[in-house]
């Protein structure tokens, strides 16, 4: 039970909403390793940027941890085999985004002990910067909070810029999700070790770990772990959505705003998810690339809720099966959280690097007919970016690109707070998404002209 002392405990950003957290089902369940299944589907596109290029062929034997897709250019990372087995196909397969994307399909070898093919562990202190970044890129590391941005690009601080503060994001403000929470409790050493690696690579002075106040055990665990490091501070934050958004986290901890169109780096700040930090520690200390991640399976449509350590590429159907299957009344399956996740039409898509949750619900919101906007202003008071969502949505309908751009449509990161509060059930996020696409298109045209 979250009392008001937790809701108001600690600093926060402006605006935002308070959806029911619904984390009780899984926040005390230890992470369990999901057993290996028969077949894995590893999409080449699991990150922001160019998809990886397959380097294996049908019929080829691959080892767990071996690279099956090499990065294509700078804004791209490697993709690895999550299991030892034989490549069954290299072809487009269903992807969490609802499209079909090129994937390497691997049939697991049931007789193999499935030990990961490790690269040699290395202490980043003795490696040159280029080598560290190369290892991170080839280790397949991306932000595990959901956006899946390549980690090596974020760490590649351009000439003339520097990082003074590294912030680990342990907010986990999306309802239902507890994967980061459990990771912070159970793998506190890896999280803090990852933070130290990040600080060392960027040469920064101070590290922060921001955690919402409804996870006292995680706060305690990381405080204990970082006790004798005066450079690291664990910050307890007020429970509010979207506290885990990069810009909101920065506003809360530093009382500063990232200027529109700029990056946290312009404030000399680097934000990484706690799970990314742990993956970084695994990469350098154990030589394990990103081949598995923690996923929360929850919701009233699943027979059993769990926090699972899942090999990346595990088909959704197998994860659901492992949780006892869907209940008969399940009507909706979401990858990610309920505020920003993606609904699935089928269970064919695999778990990818950015998948934080598998949620199944028996009573989805459904289609609610849209009422006219009554200009109540609730969306304005919800928007953490202090935008005017109702106006942006109306402008998107009118395709008024100029006004959309002037009113900062591109600053919207689609957290869904506006649509969550709208009494008229206007699909604000979808409309603004259309508006953003229009602005981007206009910018491209202008560049060409």
């Amino acid at each position: 039970m979250i009392g008001p002392w937790v809701l108001w405990g600690g600093p926060s950003f402006r605006h935002g909403v308070h959806p029911e957290a619904s984390k009780e089902a899984t926040n005390r369940l230890p992470i369990e390793r999901m057993p290996f299944v028969e077949r894995y589907v590893v999409p080449m596109s699991q990150h922001t940027g160019a998809p990886a290029v397959p380097v294996v062929r049908r019929g080829e034997r691959v080892h767990r941890g071996q690279i099956v897709g090499r990065p294509h250019g700078y804004l791209s990372v490697a993709v690895h085999a999550p299991v030892t087995g034989v490549v069954e196909a290299v072809e487009p397969r269903p992807h969490p985004t609802g499209t079909r994307q090129l994937a390497v399909v691997i049939r697991a070898d049931p007789f193999d002990p499935q030990r990961a093919a490790h690269i040699r562990p290395a202490d980043p202190r003795w490696l040159p910067r280029e080598e560290i970044l190369r290892r991170i890129q080839l280790g397949g590391l991306v932000g595990l909070g959901g956006a899946a941005f390549p980690t090596h690009v974020k760490l590649d601080v351009p000439e003339g810029k520097r990082v003074r503060f590294v912030v680990l994001n342990g907010c986990e403000c999306e309802p239902y999700l507890t994967c980061d929470h459990r990771l912070m409790v159970e793998r506190r050493d890896a999280v803090v070790r990852g933070l130290r690696i990040l600080m060392q690579v960027t040469g920064c002075e101070r590290g922060y770990i921001g955690i919402e106040a409804d996870k006292p055990d995680a706060i305690e665990a990381l405080q204990a772990e970082a006790r004798d490091d005066p450079r690291v501070e664990v910050v307890s934050l007020r429970v509010k959505y979207p506290q885990g958004a990069e810009r909101m986290l920065i506003e809360t901890i530093f009382h500063r705003e990232v200027p529109s169109g700029k990056l946290p780096l312009d404030l000399e700040i680097l934000v990484q998810n706690v799970a990314t930090a742990a993956a970084l520690a695994d990469l350098f200390d154990r030589g394990q690339p990103l081949i598995e991640r923690v996923v929360t399976a929850a919701g009233d449509g699943l027979r059993r809720a769990a926090n699972l350590l899942v090999p990346i590429g595990t088909p959704l159907a197998d994860v659901v099966e492992h949780c006892g299957g869907l209940r008969e009344e399940a009507r909706q399956v979401i990858l990610g959280g309920p505020m920003m996740g993606q609904a699935q039409k089928t269970l064919e898509a695999p778990i990818v690097k950015g998948t934080s949750g598998v949620l199944a619900f028996s009573r989805p919101l459904g289609f609610v007919e849209e009422d006219p906007c009554i200009r109540c202003g609730r969306c304005l008071e919800a928007c953490p970016m202090i935008l005017n969502p109702s106006r942006l949505a109306a402008l998107a309908r009118q395709q008024d690109v100029e006004a959309l751009e002037r009113l900062h449509a591109l600053d919207c990161f689609e957290c869904g707070s506006c649509a969550y509060v709208c009494p008229s059930h206007i699909p604000l996020v979808q409309l603004i998404r259309v508006g953003k696409a229009l602005v981007r298109q206009a910018r491209r045209t202008r560049q060409v002209a």
Binding site: R391, D411, P427
Partner: protein, 331 residues
């Protein structure tokens, strides 16, 4: 592997706070029950008849224009009924019912439908209806009956035939504002607080309005800033004016508790459609209403100015919205 169930595809967010426009309208309607109750208590069953007539005019007009949609159409959201009830509560108790009905028709027809329906109108529909009645029937709209009538006795004017002159069978009296302005007579604050004065149906009892306003604000049905800025603005401005010109301007407690100010601040100024979206805009709007109310009451020819003050500020709302946009994060 289990057979894949029929899964619903939809875009995020998959959660909703559960508010709907319909629920907001019905919450306001529910809060009006004690206000109507007070009106019946002070002015007898004729008050209820005025409420019914005005609502019938509003609802039938909405139904007439919304009939293209299946079933109840736009009636379901409750906004037409709300407009009808709000209009009635700004009318005098002995008003002929046909006028109340006509007011409801004009409120929805001219106040809302011709603008494009819910959410599109510039002016508060209920006040458009009242402004029409005030212009068309100035005499009837300023005929006030004293409170404390027998519950079941209805003035003859209530059932007057359309466009026929009915004799007002009751003693008429002036409102506290009229008494103060034209006769220099003060009214007991206690009477203003409880509502034991002449006036429009819903405006007389300050205590009922304060309680209803608090409930609506705490339940977040409306933006409290609009309501508070209006009342606070009137109190401050009339306080200053009273200190400078005690002859012309009554004390702030009287100004706030008399006339339609509290009713307007709780139920008219807080109409989301016709007032600014932004928090800063809300403060500007309320302050503007306050200035106009005090100006009209102190220096205008009319004893009361809440209706015109709100309608004038309604007209300024698009402009206020435009210039009160908050600075975006990092912008």
């Amino acid at each position: 592997m289990s057979e894949a169930p029929r899964l619903e595809l939809r875009a995020a967010p998959f959660l909703h706070r559960g508010l709907s426009t319909r629920r907001l309208m019905y919450e306001v309607l529910a809060s009006l029950v004690p206000v109507v109750g007070a009106a019946v208590y002070f002015f007898g069953v004729a008050a209820l008849l005025v409420v019914l007539a005005s609502s019938a005019g509003a609802v039938l007009t909405e139904w007439f224009f919304g009939a293209s949609r299946r079933g109840l159409g736009t009636l379901r959201d409750g906004s037409a009924l709300l407009t009808g009830v709000l209009l009635a509560l700004t009318l005098p108790p002995a008003l002929p019912l046909w006028m109340a009905f006509l007011g409801g028709v004009v409120a929805i027809g001219l106040g809302k439908t011709i603008w494009g329906g819910l959410g599109q109108n510039l002016f508060n529909p209920a006040l458009v209806g009242r402004a029409f009645l005030q212009a068309a029937f100035p005499e009837a709209l300023t005929t006030w009956t004293p409170p404390g009538r027998d519950l079941w006795s209805v003035p003859a004017s209530t059932f007057a035939w359309p466009f026929m002159r009915a004799d007002v069978d009751v003693t008429t009296s002036a409102t506290p504002l009229g008494l103060a302005k034209f006769a220099g007579q003060p009214t007991e604050l206690e009477a203003l607080w409880f509502g034991n004065t002449a006036g429009s149906l819903g405006e007389t009892s300050a205590v009922v309005l304060v309680v209803c306003g608090l409930v609506l604000a705490l339940r977040r049905v409306f933006d409290w800033r609009l309501c508070v800025s209006t009342i606070l603005g009137v109190a401050l401005l009339s306080g200053v004016l009273h200190a400078v010109l005690p002859e012309q301007c009554p004390p702030p407690a009287f100004t706030v508790l008399s006339g339609g100010l509290l009713f307007g601040a709780v139920y008219m100024v807080t109409d989301p459609v016709t007032t600014p979206l932004t928090p800063l805009g809300a403060w500007i709007f309320g302050s503007g209403v306050a200035v106009l109310v005090v100006l009209i009451r102190v220096w205008g020819g009319l004893p009361e100015g809440v209706m015109y003050a709100i309608l004038l500020m309604n007209a300024a709302t698009p402009l206020i919205n435009r210039y009160s946009q908050p600075r975006p994060y990092g912008g």
